[in-house]
Symmetry: C2
Subunit: 118 residues, 2 copies
DNA sequence: TCTACATATTCAAAGAAGCTTATATGTGAA
DNA sequence: TTCACATATAAGCTTCTTTGAATATGTAGA
């Protein structure tokens, strides 16, 4: 096993915590959990990766993911509801871009850990 | 909107990528997606947080999470099957600890983003 | 060996999430 | 206004996930 304390800046959780602190922590965990669920879907993860290189229209994303219109639109709806992306209309087409620096930061780490291995 | 390019080290994904490169990327996305799914469960996320402060027995985790024995054990089984934690037996009790630096790194970022806000 | 304790596993039920098909909305051009 | 295109939403279905209850495994001590 490796030594966590050396690598992590995570706070110590102990029994001296007040109930308020524990509640706040549970809320944070819930929020983080929702965020992670939103990005842990393979299609949505790929969408975020593609958007990280610049805004894309829905049709472009459909092609990049080889997925159907409705499916992509629903995945975008989910990301929108989490505040991770935002739409910009230009005529008939709608372009999506990232709005949340948190998404980019997590993606960076995920990219480090899963794409640069080996 | 903010400028992704300034903040991110993510690679550019363009149409000049070979099929092999795209396949590799899809595999990575799939692997990352599985990893993120494993940690995006509120209970499992809390378990990982608790383990980040040092190994804990199953009973301790049950109390910390106010959850039932079977539920905690199943969550641990999932984390075990993903290779994120490992058990150590000492007499009748079994202690769990983190085994995957990736979990700690993601947790660090998540903690930064969701617990230090405001 | 028998018993008690700690943990794991199995299985069925409940719930959540995702996809497809069909339909609706909004925009530009004729 | 009518049509065509781009996107969004809704409904129904299927599949995955999670949970609780019951049961099994493994260990220590009497």
């Amino acid at each position: 096993m490796f030594d966590n304390q050396k690598e992590s800046n995570l706070p110590v959780i102990n029994s001296e915590m007040s109930e308020a602190e524990i509640n706040r922590m549970m809320e944070n965990a819930c929020e983080a959990s929702n965020f992670l669920k939103a990005i842990s879907h393979e299609g949505r993860l790929m969408i975020l990766c593609h958007l990280a290189t610049g805004e894309k229209s829905v049709t472009e994303l459909e092609q990049l993911l080889s997925a159907r219109q409705a499916a992509v639109s629903q995945q975008l709806a989910r990301l929108r509801s989490e505040g991770l992306v935002e739409p910009r209309r230009d005529g008939k087409t709608i372009y999506y871009s990232l709005t949340d620096r948190r998404a980019v930061q997590i993606l960076d780490v995920v990219y480090e850990l899963f794409c640069k291995k080996g």
